[in-house]
Amino acid sequence: MMRVGLLTPLLALAFVALALFMPATAPFFHWLFPENPRPVFLRASFLELTLAHAELVLISAGAATAFALGVGIFVTRPAGREFLPIVGALAAVGQTFPPAAVLALAVPALGYGEAPTLLALFLYSILPILEGTIAGLHAVPADVREAADGLGFSSATKLTRIELPLAAPYILAGVRTSTIIAIGTATIGSTIGALSLGSPIVEGLAAENTAYVLQGALVVALFAILVDRGFELLERRLARQSRSELPASRPRRAAAAAAP
């Protein structure tokens, strides 16, 4: 607990500092790469890159969550149950497509820039959330479902009050996986002109400027780790709400909350 309590704020601090003050690291990268005449990526500020990157991830993960939730709910209803195998297979195939191939295929249709990147990220993000949704809805105990039916829940009320809340940890785990993958994958969007934290990486690779690659990779990695930590906290809060609200654990929780 202590380790987590200290590490996360430190990483967050490093992330914010690098995003805001990357140019200040010039002496360090100059020392690391003495031959390099331009040791820091300056075409866009890292704040701008981070915000653009976050936007790509937010939009694609958001859309994928809405889509996967809808499909996942549909194929677990009596009306859509026959589509379950097909949908599962389709989503799995979508996942085996390399994102670079999706980009290459999307560019002729959507042009360069953000649109094809969003499409690739969207397609790529669906499977984990879909799987989480289906697994979560299937994990609702049969007796709980039977009780809900027997007590007179309508199917919509049963879904929103019973099934989705109970499936929430599974769904959230799917969203977490998708988002983390999307944060890494969004960098590839820079190969077709989308602005992201991949821009210094792509440019650095093209110009053989390892410093740029390091800078981009460092900020992306910190970003991914922090978002992952955020999801973990969210998952814990969710678990606490329903499962472990033991009166005995209250003081301990208060202590944990006071620790950071």
């Binding site: 105990p141 007796d143 709980v144 039977e146 009780a147 809900a148 039916d149 027997g150 007590l151 007179g152 829940f153 309508s154 009320t157 019973i162 809340p165 109970l166 709400q241 329903s242 499962r243 609200e245 033991l246």
Partner: protein
């Protein structure tokens, strides 16, 4: 009054239930009992339309079950299942409030009702703010019963409600259910595979086998005159005679004329307690007193033996 009229159910072309006709009077505690797969749960679930019959009809107070929207019907019928089926993400209080909230009761009324049924089902107030996983099996089942009672339905369906409990808890809850039935006069339909549970609780017992009714009647009727070998075996074979004594009263085999004896028993005691009294005192004749303590006759061991044969 719940009536089944020539009800049938088919699975994959095979008839698994019926044709079944049955009527459960208002205020009865009707126990559907039989081995696994005899159709007792299917029968129960047809009453609240969780399963729909393929032929025949079911009426509650002369209203066909199928004429109501299923959800509305179910909100008016209490339902208890074996494992409790409590909603794990809701506190006990919210579990109990399920049906009143589905019926959009006012907040204050719901809150008052939670306390009321918690008391009826003997749930300690401190448990109301716990989550189901923090309760013992017996406590969970109490909550299940309280949840079924919450909206004060006239009919309560119970599907193996005590099947997952240890014998001590089970006996305690059976006793409470009998008391609850006695106090509220609700119509209760209970499914079990345990004949002793059926005998202990039922005012009416329906013995089922292979989708059909093997015999129905009061516990005493079924013990005294099993209609087939299956029923005879199911009610406990030779042991049925002992069980029957539980349902017979001293007054049924009372002999007139006061034979003096220093041990006595009352007219409304069961023959089983009379026999126990004889065994512990070593007497074969006991004096019988009525409720007010006056001696009204005697009871002889040979009459008890005779009564156990029917």
């Amino acid at each position: 009054m719940i009536e089944f009229d020539a009800v049938e159910k088919f699975y994959a072309g095979q008839r698994v239930l019926g044709p079944l006709s049955l009527s459960i009077p208002q205020g009865a505690l009707c126990v559907l009992v039989g081995p696994s797969g005899c159709g007792k749960s299917t029968t129960l679930k047809m009453i609240n339309a969780l399963i729909t019959p393929d032929a025949g009809s079911i009426r509650i107070n002369a209203q066909p079950v199928a004429s109501h929207p299923a959800e509305e019907l179910r909100r008016g019928i209490g339902y208890v299942i074996q494992s409790g089926g409590l909603f794990p993400h809701w506190r006990v209080r919210d579990n109990i409030a399920t049906v009143p909230r589905l019926l959009h009761w006012e907040k204050a009324r719901v809150a008052a009702r939670i306390n009321e049924v918690a008391e009826i089902a003997a749930i300690h107030r401190a448990l109301l703010d716990r989550f189901p996983h923090q309760l013992s099996g017996g406590q969970q089942q109490r909550v299940g019963v309280a949840r079924a009672l919450a909206a004060d339905p006239d009919i309560i369906l119970m599907d193996e409600p005590f099947g997952a409990l240890d014998p001590v808890t089970r006996a305690a809850l059976q006793k409470e259910l009998a008391r609850l039935h006695h106090n509220t006069g609700k119509t209760i339909v209970l499914v079990t595979h345990d004949m002793d549970e059926a005998l202990a609780l039922g005012t009416t017992i329906v013995v089922m086998r292979k989708g059909e009714i093997a015999q129905s009647g009061t516990p005493a009727e079924i013990l005294a005159a099993p209609r087939s070998d299956f029923v005879r075996d199911f009610v406990g074979g030779a042991d049925a005679a002992m069980k029957l004594l539980e349902f017979r009263k001293v007054r049924e085999v009372l002999r007139g004329g006061a034979e003096s004896c220093d041990h006595s028993i009352r007219t409304h005691d069961t023959l089983r307690s009379a026999l126990t009294e004889m065994m512990t005192t070593g007497r074969s004749i006991l004096t019988v007193q009525n409720e007010s303590g006056a001696i009204v006759g005697s009871i002889h061991v040979e009459d008890i033996v005779g009564a156990s044969k029917r």
